[in-house]
Symmetry: D3
Amino acid sequence: MDEGAALERGRQRMLEIHGERSLATIEGLGDLGRMILEVAYGDVYSRPGLALRDRQIATVAVLVALGRSSQLPIHLRSSLKAGLSVEELQEVILQTSVLAGFPQAMNAWSTLKTIASDPDGT
Amino acid sequence: MDEGAALERGRQRMLEIHGERSLATIEGLGDLGRMILEVAYGDVYSRPGLALRDRQIATVAVLVALGRSSQLPIHLRSSLKAGLSVEELQEVILQTSVLAGFPQAMNAWSTLKTIASDPDGT
Amino acid sequence: MDEGAALERGRQRMLEIHGERSLATIEGLGDLGRMILEVAYGDVYSRPGLALRDRQIATVAVLVALGRSSQLPIHLRSSLKAGLSVEELQEVILQTSVLAGFPQAMNAWSTLKTIASDPDGT
Amino acid sequence: MDEGAALERGRQRMLEIHGERSLATIEGLGDLGRMILEVAYGDVYSRPGLALRDRQIATVAVLVALGRSSQLPIHLRSSLKAGLSVEELQEVILQTSVLAGFPQAMNAWSTLKTIASDPDGT
Amino acid sequence: MDEGAALERGRQRMLEIHGERSLATIEGLGDLGRMILEVAYGDVYSRPGLALRDRQIATVAVLVALGRSSQLPIHLRSSLKAGLSVEELQEVILQTSVLAGFPQAMNAWSTLKTIASDPDGT
Amino acid sequence: MDEGAALERGRQRMLEIHGERSLATIEGLGDLGRMILEVAYGDVYSRPGLALRDRQIATVAVLVALGRSSQLPIHLRSSLKAGLSVEELQEVILQTSVLAGFPQAMNAWSTLKTIASDPDGT
């Protein structure tokens, strides 16, 4: 399979997971965006060995633990689309809080609350 | 429910998840161990809102991302007991690698490999 | 003592340390807020073994080192109330800067400067 | 050489690297600003053993990896002045992304894009 | 005051705080060791605005939160010499655990336990 | 170009940069090793826009700042092979120390010292 195929597969996977606006954002990031599409979406997120729902548990937990607040909202929205409930995402935040501290968890909880009240919002 | 109940519930939950040796270790940590039993095991890990298997996905992802290598082996073993396969745990590490970098993931992959070949080991 | 007692003790302790507005914020965080009140305020902050002033030295140092900027202002204000002077808090930031780098310390110093000129402010 | 000399040397070095506005900012940070001028600029940045361009590669990589977003824009601008091209700085971000994860790199790439279109801007 | 004076003051301060073996270690680190002596010990640790005991509260909290395990033992020993009791250091670890997670705190608690049973040890 | 080509290019690039032993290690890491070869070595490290020497400045700085001690020795050795002198690598560590704190830098300085006295060693 050629690299163009990985890129195209990444575009499709990102569209399914995050939607058109996210794809447009990532395509505005030049070679970094290309690499994220090929590697994170065309490769990792396209692997059959773990359900999307489970990948989102890991992703949300890591973003909360590392305090990556910029990428958290889009991944919380995609997690809801992938079948995780608001309550399950709250549990993921609680689970992370004992491993990475309460301050990070507080910010994440507030972000989730906002998104839960407007899951399709800007 | 009194606090002694939270502690006792935490002890039971830790026994179920990690086994006797881990409980002995945690009980050697004084008030910190007591707090971990009450809060992490008697409260968070005892909540019904998320399956143990899913909690372990979050836990392993966070430990890998933060480089908490001391606690990773015991949680990898408990993840296998909780129903995650070696292959699924590899996927969790791959998912984490794109969010937190390859160096952390390399160490975690090696640890998992060792544990997979001796899941009940020391 | 029952868990409701830990929660109530946490509420009282948070009121003493941070005031009503912070309590309202934390009570808006559902089970995470409940857990923070029980564990951080009803347990840790209520323990007699270390003065509140000393706990705030540790807290401010950790928030600066980890770059937890959302929680820093409220803890700087509470540190002033707990008896630390602006000058002592500056020393805590300087001490942290050699352990965690200058960039974090610069942000914290600016935040402290703003708060020092308006300790009761929004 | 006396400490006043280290401070004066730091002021000159900071002026050369970042310009007047940055010097004014740092001089508003009291003893922390004085220490940064003496140590980071009067000592480290004044050492002959590594070119300024190379120091900026290290600096940008570390700021991206640690997510120190407040200090990144000024160091990206100074890196351009020190002879690194926008394309080379993009490579530094790509190199960092495999070590520290894509989320940090995405934020940095966007910041660089903004600065590249207005290198002398506010 | 000349820079040689800052270095000499740093040597004296390090001797007082950590003892001869630590000074020998730091003097084996070339220009980095010289910079640490001048800046951390000749400047920050020599400032009158905060007691040594209080500086050690901040230092231990930051080392625990960031997982800097190599430097933790020597700073725990120096904290005992500076007047903090084992019980107070345990409180610092508990305080840090709610801000930075339990795994880091567990390692620190064990290290402290070892040191408490042999405060002058190797 | 097909993905097998990226993998093969990554193998060649890793051999040039780190040598056979490292390639054997990475090939023992299953799909993670394959991804690192394709992405980090077949893609990023194979890009013409930044010299290998400059990529190693960024890499060493990030590994020091994040405390990734497992991967530091091999990258220090490869940096020497890529044309950085021991003295330049010391400057990279000093530059990183003001951004990420002295404790990380101390460990890195010691590692570099060991490697400098035995650059081809185990």
